[in-house]
Symmetry: C2
Subunit: 189 residues, 2 copies
């Protein structure tokens, strides 16, 4: 039984240094609200607004630290509300994705691209992956128990020395399965 803790990702944004400077002011540094499961990653105290053609979300959590490129991760439910059609993608793979307007206290950015629905995935530390015979990029099948029990196919394995064992699903997936952060999933194959 390969058990994995579940982490549910609400909509959030990763910002580039350049966009932090525009949205919050030159030289601004994000402050840590809460450490996340992946080492070095944190939820920032700061939020931004994102504005699509059909709707907006006023308090979208920023996850730090700054990244090379700005990336907004939303659920499909969020995407319908915003009026945009982002693809399901792995984090970092944003070529050809839609953009959106981002508003901070010091300025606005029209992201030309970078909105995705994150592909469900499991972070494995290299040692976990070796022990369980799992390769980076492998597609896994993962079951969650309960009243809304279901089996997720196409769960991407992501293996790194920098990762801690955690399965990341979005709020649509968590709600469809009736699970929350801290619940447990089982890798079937």
């Amino acid at each position: 039984m390969y058990q994995v803790p579940i982490g549910v990702s609400a909509r959030h944004i990763h910002l580039s240094e350049a966009h932090i400077a525009i949205l919050f002011g030159s030289g601004y540094e994000l402050t840590v609200l809460k450490e996340l499961s992946q080492p070095g990653q944190f939820a920032a105290t700061e939020t931004v607004a994102v504005v699509g053609p059909k709707g907006r979300f006023d308090k979208v959590r920023i996850l730090g630290p700054a990244r090379g490129k700005t990336q907004l991760e939303v659920s499909q439910t969020d995407a319908f509300a915003l009026g945009i059609a982002p693809p399901v993608r792995e984090s970092g793979n944003i070529a050809g994705t839609p953009g959106i307007k981002v508003i901070g206290p010091a300025g606005e950015v029209d992201m030309p691209e970078g909105v995705i629905v994150a592909a469900r995935h499991i972070h494995f530390h290299t040692s976990d992956a070796a022990k369980w015979g799992i390769a980076d990029k492998q597609k896994l099948t993962v079951r969650v128990e309960g009243e809304r029990a279901l089996i997720f196919e196409n769960v991407v394995a992501r293996v790194s020395e920098q990762f801690a064992l955690d399965m990341h699903i979005d709020t649509d997936e968590a709600n469809a399965a009736g699970v929350k952060t801290g619940d447990t999933a089982v890798i079937l194959k």
Copy 2:
């Protein structure tokens, strides 16, 4: 291969005759916007607002005809936005569920109970169920194909002479699976 068409249920409300009279005026009759997959059921032209402790939805579609008891069906995503905690229930089983305020053009109703997250289910005409060896209330396991392929467990079979073959899932479930109305699911067992 037991193939079933999928129907995605957005949030909607069924109203009692008494509540239609309060919300729209005495003697008011709902008008048909669109026939639904189940014989005699329709989406009404009319909508109502529903107001929870944390949020509201202004245009909630009414499904007709009138029922014995008013029932609001929302996704778990909707429930978080409204600030209420409805259970996953089969339609009609509303004892002990939360209520909500409903606002129409002619008046308001404080529903004492009746908000549910609908349990995923498949409507079978008696002849389909007989042919496939499926019993009313049976829990089925159902797979959907695609980029977000997944297998739903605990899908309730509902068998009646009044039903047409259709699998009903909510928007969280549809988004988690990457499917829309008109796509096809396969009953595995």
